[in-house]
């Protein structure tokens, strides 16, 4: 700041931005002594339990609810037919093409069920236990229909249909051709003149967001007003969408996201259960709560990823890339939810990544199957793109006999070329890929590990070593509203903030970017402390309640700091500008003669004179002595709409040991250097990187939602849906380079998804590098020991896993946890 330059000798208190502050919200979040939705108890509150389909595709016959209705403490039972008039369809805000087929998504199935776990009836009871007990008493006739599970087969001629009433299993086809768009040249020509073409089919397995806090919703009616508390990432979007879906007018609906325990995109949704809870509260005029079980969560909350990627890359002999073609099949699941069709489109622009491709074509088909709908999951589209490009770069390097890093270097954008407009038409803001890579190589101890790899190879060690790279970038800060409009997204991408200066000098910061564990309260306080020069402790950040924070677009897409934080900074600066007018009046000086430093306005060259912004807050409250014609308020708000995305980047390197006898893979070392622009809080950045790495590594090694041939989710508990813990992950060697983002006043680029986007291909590339000399060219994710062993000893990519769940808990799976009575549960014996 210029004020500091004026008087370098009297440096004020240390800047907050850049300090590794411990997160002020953590004590209450970690101990659970907070407002988790399920902690909420209201007088006379009723409880919901949802009866879910145990079959993947069937016509609904009669639903006999009499026994359930007359069970003790049951108040009401509703089926889809009871709610059909009011429930509308779960909204899809992203019709990616005008022709996109949306089959409609009733919250409770009316005529047909289309995936296991779909709601078919709702029990309302005086206790959670009574509601749950009655679930088994509902008798549903299912008239089975053919089940569609495999995307490639679903698109074949004469395939069975996911929905009876649509013409095919294709929801949409979306094409971006750089040649046609004028951002690049024709791929046909590029491939025709190429010396080398490499084609691969990669599979992004289906994943489950598996947030820590299960979903929960409470609705309280009050006259014709409704207050909804929900474990959601998006209270603002939820309010608008519920108003549009259920007919409860927007101004009669208040949505509160209290403290929310994680989401990873999994709570970026308008869920059937939120609609159901609202409708039941409306019907009965009583407060109602729904909280899911973990089994329900795994099978019915939306899933992520699930793409088949056909990727072709063209290059000349020297390793200059000439063109890239991507054809995606993206599994929508049975229905389109909030942004289901848009997720692969978010990836469309990222396949060219950091490389200077002259030609590019992207072609995506959205495909229906009888599975849980997919939607946003940490990274949403960009991890898929990063995986495909970083994997195929390695394959191209092998084909050319080049070092994988040399190939990348040859083709990446150089530091002096920023801002750089890519073949996909994006303008990358800033960065230095070489610098990050050098730093990461040092962190890893690259040369030594390469040497050890050579030794192990020569001695034919049963444990082989491999090293894998991912030099990634992503588009963050969702998003410029105009860009979203051009992609047919149903909303803008701005963010709102306001600052309230309280009479005692304390500060309330209201943000529209609702956190669900990211640490906004801490980071926003740091930003405001520096802008206003008030103590960190004097700042409270309010969020997540549409009555308190009336405007906002919430948290996803690494947007909060970049867009929401920027709004906070702009609002703060407006407060300072207003306060300056008051200060000038109080100090009887001209505004131009004032300097503002460490929270105090003073007259330049007049030491000792001064009034703090906190004192001005009190003077404003009293308003006894105010400048003429100025309204007595120094509060301010701001709405920030970025003009461009921001583009974090980084180099991730994984060293992997592969036990060739058993197929077990073990990460030996993991180093990454990320450029996320300006770092507001290094501790939070480090935490986001660690969490992201855990999830990205989990995609590579552990997690997969598996369906059996009948469409049952057999990874229906955490015994079989394998989420790693700290005990299963290596130490992470992390570092940063800093190239500030020019597109926002903070200079931050976004960090929430970086680790998750970058790590997956580095891990897979490392495993392949360890065993490629044994003839292995690909292994399906997750790299289970069995798959790795098969790929080494039997050839191929490891193949599909057997679908049966393991026998812990008697092989529990959706068939039995869907809440239907089974012979076993009636008998009372173990299965």
């Amino acid at each position: 700041m210029t004020a500091v330059e004026d008087r370098p000798m009297t440096a004020g208190p240390a800047k907050e931005v850049g300090q590794a502050r411990k997160r002020k919200e953590d004590a209450r979040l970690i101990t659970g002594k907070t407002t988790w939705t399920d902690n909420m108890v209201l007088p006379g509150m009723l409880h919901l339990a949802v009866v879910r389909s145990p079959v993947a595709h069937a016509k609904l016959g009669t639903i006999d609810v009499e026994a359930a209705r007359s069970a003790p403490n049951v108040v009401a039972v509703f089926t889809g037919r009871d709610l059909a008039e009011e429930q509308g369809s779960i909204p899809c805000a992203w019709p990616v093409t005008p022709e996109m087929v949306n089959p409609g998504h009733p919250s409770v199935a009316v005529d047909e069920v289309n995936h296991v776990g779909e709601a078919v009836a709702v029990i309302v009871a005086r206790s959670k236990t009574a509601a749950q007990d009655a679930v088994e008493l509902v008798d549903v006739d299912y008239d089975p229909l053919p089940v569609v599970l495999d995307m490639e087969r679903a698109l074949a001629e004469g395939a069975a249909l996911t929905h009876d009433h649509v013409a095919s299993n294709e929801s949409y086809r979306w094409i971006f051709d750089a040649g046609e768009a004028g951002t690049g040249s024709s791929t046909d020509e590029a491939f025709a003149k190429a010396d080398v073409v490499v084609s691969r089919r990669f599979v992004q397995q289906r994943l489950i967001p598996a947030f820590m806090e299960p979903r929960s919703t409470v609705v309280q009616p009050q006259g014709d007003n409704y207050t909804m508390w929900s474990a959601t990432q998006v209270p603002h979007i939820l309010r608008i969408m519920l108003a549009m879906t259920t007919g409860v007018p927007e101004h009669k609906l208040r949505v509160i996201a209290p403290d929310v325990g994680g989401g990873f995109g999994g709570k970026l949704q308008v869920t059937p259960e939120e609609v159901i809870t609202l409708l039941v509260a409306k019907r009965l005029g009583k407060p109602v709560k729904w909280t899911e079980t973990r089994s329900e969560s795994l099978m019915s909350a939306h899933h992520g990823r699930d793409q088949i990627q056909y990727v072709d890359i063209a290059a000349d002999r020297e390793g200059n890339v000439l063109g890239l073609k991507v054809h995606l099949l993206a599994d929508m699941g049975a229905y389109l939810r909030l942004v289901t069709p848009g997720v692969p489109i978010l990836g469309a622009f990222m396949f060219p990544a950091i490389y200077k491709f002259p030609a590019y074509r992207f072609d995506c088909q959205g495909v229906f199957t009888n599975k849980t709908p997919t939607d946003a999951y940490r990274g949403a589209g960009r991890p898929e793109a990063t995986f495909a490009i970083e994997r195929i770069m390695d394959e191209l390097a092998v084909e050319l006999g080049m070092d994988p890093l040399e190939l990348r270097r040859k083709n990446w954008i150089n530091a002096d070329e920023f801002p750089f407009t890519t073949v996909a038409g994006l303008e990358y803001d800033s960065g230095d890929y070489e610098q990050a890579t050098q730093q990461a190589l040092e962190l890893l101890g690259y040369d030594e590990l390469r040497e050890e790899q050579r030794r192990r190879r020569e001695s034919n060690d049963p444990v082989q070593l491999g090293i894998g790279f991912s030099t990634f970038t992503e588009m963050c800060g969702l998003a410029p509203s105009r860009v979203l409009g051009s992609l047919s997204y149903g909303a803008g991408g701005w963010e709102h903030a306001s600052i309230r200066m309280l009479p005692t000098g304390k500060v309330e910061v209201i943000t529209g970017s609702t956190p669900h564990g990211q640490g906004h309260e801490t980071a926003w306080s740091q930003l405001v402390a520096d802008e206003l020069g008030v103590p960190f402790e004097d700042i409270e950040v309010l969020h997540g309640d549409t009555a308190i924070s009336p405007r906002g677009l919430d948290t996803y897409g690494s947007r909060s700091l970049v867009v929401g934080g920027a709004a906070v900074v702009n609002a703060s600066q407006k407060v300072v500008a207003k306060a300056r007018t008051v200060a000038a009046h109080l100090l009887e000086a001209s505004e131009d003669d004032l300097q503002f430093e460490s929270g105090t306005f003073s007259v330049r060259g007049t030491p000792g004179s001064g009034v703090s912004i906190q004192e001005i807050a009190l003077a404003t409250f009293a308003a006894h002595n105010f400048p003429d014609g100025v309204e007595p308020s120094i509060d301010a708000d701001a709405t920030f709409d970025p003009v461009n995305f921001s583009f974090p980047h980084g180099t991730h390197i994984c060293a992997m040991e592969v036990d060739t006898e058993t197929g077990m893979v073990t990460i030996r070392k993991y180093a990454c250097v990320d450029d996320v622009g300006k770092i507001v809080n290094p501790l939070i950045v480090e935490g986001q990187i660690h969490g992201g790495l855990a999830q990205g590594i989990a995609q590579a090694l552990y997690e997969e939602a598996v369906y059996d041939e009948d469409g049952n989710l057999t990874t229906g508990t955490f015994v079989d849906y394998l989420v790693p813990s700290a005990a299963d992950l290596p130490h992470f060697d992390t570092g940063n380079t800093v190239h500030e983002a020019p597109g926002n006043p903070i200079g931050a680029k976004g960090v929430g998804e970086a680790g998750c986007i970058a790590s997956t291909p580095a891990v897979v590339n490392a495993a392949l590098d360890a065993v490629r000399h044994l003839g292995v060219t690909d292994i399906l994710m997750p790299l289970t020991p069995e798959r790795v062993w098969r790929a080494i000893h039997r050839g191929g990519d490891g193949g599909d896993r057997a679908t049966a769940g393991t026998n812990a808990y008697g092989g529990a799976q959706t068939e039995t946890t869907a809440g239907v009575s089974t012979p076993e549960s009636r008998l009372g014996g173990d299965r």
Partner: protein, 285 residues
Amino acid sequence: MIPAAFGYVRPGTVDEALRALADGGEDAKVLAGGQSLIPVMRLRLAAPSMVVDLTRVTELRGVRDDGDALAIGAMTTHSDVISDPLIREFAPLIAQATETVADRQVRHRGTFGGALAHADPAGDLPAVALALDAEFVLAGPGGRRTVPARDFFVDYLTTALAEDELLVEVRIPKLAGSWGMHYEKFNRVAQAWSIVAVAAAVRRENGHIAEARIGLTNMGPTPLRATATEQALAGADAGEAAIAEAARHAAEGTAPSDDLNARADYRAHLAEVLTRRAVTAAVGL
């Protein structure tokens, strides 16, 4: 995840527990550490009408030196087993295998007897008990009886325990001579059950293997002994080549299942590799 309604009693002695079991009828279930029973009840895969909680039956807890055997009370928790000096001295295999069970929280509640009575083929302790020729002391309305390990494990999640019987203690014969032991577990994440595991106890004499006992985890509906490998090792040279050769027979006579973690042929392969590793470690190579 709410279990169906059930009755509950918490007896203080074995006799009271037996009476409660008899009164509870055929749907009564014994609750030990609850780490297997409670999850299946919450998933409503089991819905007992009466739960007989053994946590207050103190006579079932603890490890005794019983002359030529150790007597481990059924209600001894995994964490007590791990830190018990008698087990460390006479049956380190049990301590080592128990350390691989689940995580600290589960080991703090889960019990030795519960894990054996549950008889999950993926559980780690049944194969260990089988390898050590454990004896199971069962109490019923008519008195006590002793069942050898090979007869205790009957089928998937099924043991020789009758509905009105309790497992009260497990006797582990003290081994004479110079024994080495090792439990080799193969799983994907730290707290998970075994995909396959091998329990090996080996007696060395004059540079040779005099006797080997090998228990296999998750290679069939019950824990199994790798009999062919045991025979091949008896009298064999205590060297890498002989061990590797013997280990090639580890999967003979097994009937492993197919599931998400492994198909049967891969399990058979793992059994060989892990047997080789377990025996090699037990021998001290």
